[in-house]
Amino acid sequence: MLTYDPKFVAFFLPALLGAYWLLRNRGGGARIAVLLAASASFYWLADPRHAPLVAGLVLLNFAAGMAVTRASGRSRMGIAAGSVLLNVAVLAAYKYAASPADLAGAEPAAGLIQTGLPLGLSFFILKQISWIADLAPGEADPVGARDMPRFALYSIFFPQMVAGPIFRYRDAAREYEALEKGAAAPASLALGLSVFAVGLAKKLLIADPIGGVVDPIYAAAAAGQALSAAEAWVAAWCYLIQLYFDFSGISDIALGIGLMVGLRLPINFYSPLKARSATEYFDRWHISLVVFIRTYVYAPLFRWVRRHVGGSATTRAVKASAAATLLSLSLFGWWHGARPTYVLCGLLGGLIAIAYQLAELHWPSTGARGPARRLFARVTVILGLVLIGVLFRSGTLSTAAAVYGGLAGLGGGAPGGPLLPQLAAISGLDGILHVASAASGAGLLIAALGTVLAFAAPNTVQIFDLYSHPGAPQRPAASPVWRLDAARAALTGLLIAAALMQGLNGDLSATIYARF
């Protein structure tokens, strides 16, 4: 069960909200207890095999956090470093080696996640690292046993377990403190329901049908079939749109559930495909991970390199920035997994970001950049994303090479290839009405709609005025305010119903980021 599963929407979520809103005035402890019980139940239902591992890590990290706040000087740093290394080791063991479940030859449990990797392990581990890293400087109050429920909830709050967003402890501490002090307002429930509905629609009504276009073409490439240029470009472009709506949809679902129980989770997306440079892109895409890497990897690296290289202040800053960017983004790739395609994605992203940094240095941007240059910058960002997306989607380098060959027109075969005529053939009324993930014809049309939405429509933060959330950009002066009215309520209900119907049409696809 994941957060967009009809069973979750129809049963789990209403039960949770019912219990939570019944007990919301019983004090902070009761609110935390309800959410903690719900999170534990959710994890148990979604991935029972790994629940003991997750519970063990929560206890271990809490003990480490207590020790960190009570120690001082070198011993504090030693405990913190040891704890961080332990977490990284667990992550590495699962990501870069066979999982214990695989080693034991066990069959996957009857959950949706059919791999040996625990559900959302990467997101969970990063939160544990953040907890240790934020306590280590010694600014936090000593942690005591009474803080355990809050920390446990921070660690396993279920909407974030699937695919983030990653909550830095320093931000989360404020939010959880507010949750303990006061119950959520009904307006937050209403707002959260609408954000949740938009997330469901993004995932089930847009991302999944587009997968019906992408999957067969990539499967053909993986099976050694040459792709025509049209097929390769359709697959590469559609995947970019699918990935955005899938991941941002899951993030919106988490945001919505958080709001419904009075928690402001971090913003993860802010129209990334509207970015005008690589730097801006990383301010808009998977913001919570980028903030994490900037805080805990990029900034320390930048400071270290700047101290240790020679040259003028500017030269040292440029070198430090380039080195920190390359290492951080390589780590970004490694974080996704040991697959060569992920590693290359990170490296390529780092090189492109450095190229943009150097270009900015040589041709500083001003407010009056010409339209041609703006267009050039946007096109190169999008092109870079499409090309990196191919690597990201391909399971192997040979599959990626086949798709790149198709993109370059080297695939051979008929101009349209054998797949597109079939896609077009079922793009008629049949395909349009059958909005299932397998309906490739509908997927093509929805990909076109998704493209328009990604490039031209306001994002969730803008629509719902979520600028007060951690990680959100500064609120523009002219930003509209979200209002509660009958039309919006009806639209929310319509989106939920449509998404549920789509979810019930067939097998649910796992969200792309749940595997990380």
């Binding site: 069959e107 009857a110 307002a185 009904p186 307006a187 429930l189 209403a190 329901l193 609408s194 509905a197 019906g212 999957d215 067969p216 499967a219 053909a220 993986a222 099976a223 079939q225 054998p418 797949l419 079939q422 896609l423 079922i426 009324l429 049949d430 395909g431 009405l433 059958h434 909005v435 299932a436 397998a438 309906a439 490739s440 014809g441 509660l484 009215d485 009958a486 919006r488 309520a489 009806a490 929310t492 209900g493 319509l494 939920i496 119903a497 449509a498 549920l500 119907m501 789509q502 019930l504 049409n505 067939g506 097998d507």
Partner: protein, 326 residues
């Protein structure tokens, strides 16, 4: 607008829409025949990656089989789907989760319509021949009631249904019998019984009818197919997993199933159809063909599903290599 009213209106809207679609589904497609991923993109190039592109639809399988040139076709339920890892160019595994006899026949007939039909069709005995008593009573009254599949309220049902009517013969959507137009409307007009609600090809008949209502026709269709194509047809009862072998009820059910098929096969043969169909029983029950490799618990995935290593043995025991050579 106040927040509680907003939430209530949103939830009521969702519930009303879902309820309306469910009601429409109930009227239009009470047996959820339209549920299935029939538009899964298929081409010969993709057939060999079919396992990596999950697909629950009979129609999609029929299309895939029709495009395949494999000389041997494997049909059956998820046991077949999961239990045989074969080269799809030689042995095409079209196993389908929870397949009924009707699903199996539909795919087999699609294969038989190929320019070069398969030389052999291996069919796992469909195991679901009876529904729970309550539902059986509903079915015998031509009204299955709201089943779990019906709760899958989807635009699929309605749109498939309407399109099927709108484009008989021209659409990829097969036109289907219409409970609403054939039963509900005539009943409302006082002309009940004039329309036949469900054609005998619909899955619920296979599931819900007694064997005598369904098996003679199903097996006769198989024999006709065999005569038409010259294909060798082997029906087989797959091995039972160790837990089922220990259960008296399960053993009895398997024994009854095999006996029932044998009975009706003999009747079909006595009718002079002229095409013998063999039935091989690998259940592990006394008198069956024993597969020792299927006896350890490690040979099974979940319950009921044997691993491909057992599937390989089964293929050898059914002499598939000889069939391929011939």
């Amino acid at each position: 607008m106040r927040a509680p009213a907003y939430v209530a209106l949103a939830v009521a809207t969702a519930a009303a829409i879902l309820g309306a679609v469910a009601a429409l589904n109930l009227a239009m497609d009470p047996y959820s025949v339209g549920l299935g991923r029939w538009t899964r993109l298929r081409s010969a190039a993709h057939d060999d990656v079919a396992d990596r592109v999950p697909d629950a639809g009979t129609a999609a399988r029929a299309q895939a089989v029709a495009r395949s040139s494999a000389p041997v076709l494997l049909l059956g339920t998820s046991r077949t789907q999961a239990g045989f890892r074969t080269d799809p160019g030689r042995i095409f595994n079209a196993g389908q989760s929870a397949a009924t006899m009707d699903d199996v026949l539909r795919v087999a007939e699609a294969a038989a319509a190929r320019p070069v039909p398969p030389a052999a069709i291996l069919i796992e005995l469909p195991q679901a021949l009876a529904l729970p008593p309550v539902r059986r009573r509903l079915v015998t009254r031509d009204w299955p009631g709201p089943t779990d599949r019906l709760l899958a309220t989807s635009t699929t049902h309605v749109s498939l249904h309407l399109l099927g009517h709108a484009s008989r013969g021209r659409s990829v959507v097969p036109a289907r019998d219409d409970f609403f137009l054939d039963v509900v409307v005539p009943a409302a007009l006082g002309r009940a019984g004039e329309g036949r609600a469900i054609a005998p090809t619909l899955p619920f008949v296979a599931l819900g009818g007694a064997p005598r209502d369904h098996l003679p026709e199903a097996l006769a269709r198989l024999v006709r197919l065999c005569v038409r194509t010259g294909a060798t047809i082997l029906l087989y009862e797959p091995p039972l997993d160790p837990a089922r072998l220990r259960s008296g009820a399960d053993r009895e059910a398997a024994r009854a199933r095999v006996a029932t098929y044998r009975l009706y096969l003999r009747r079909v043969a006595q009718g002079g159809a002229g095409c013998p169909i063999a039935l091989l029983d690998f259940s592990g029950l006394p008198g069956s063909l024993r597969i020792p490799e299927a006896e350890p618990a490690g040979a099974w995935i979940y319950r009921d599903h044997f691993r491909p290593a057992v599937g390989d043995i089964l293929l050898r025991r059914m002499a598939v290599d000889d069939l391929l050579r011939s």
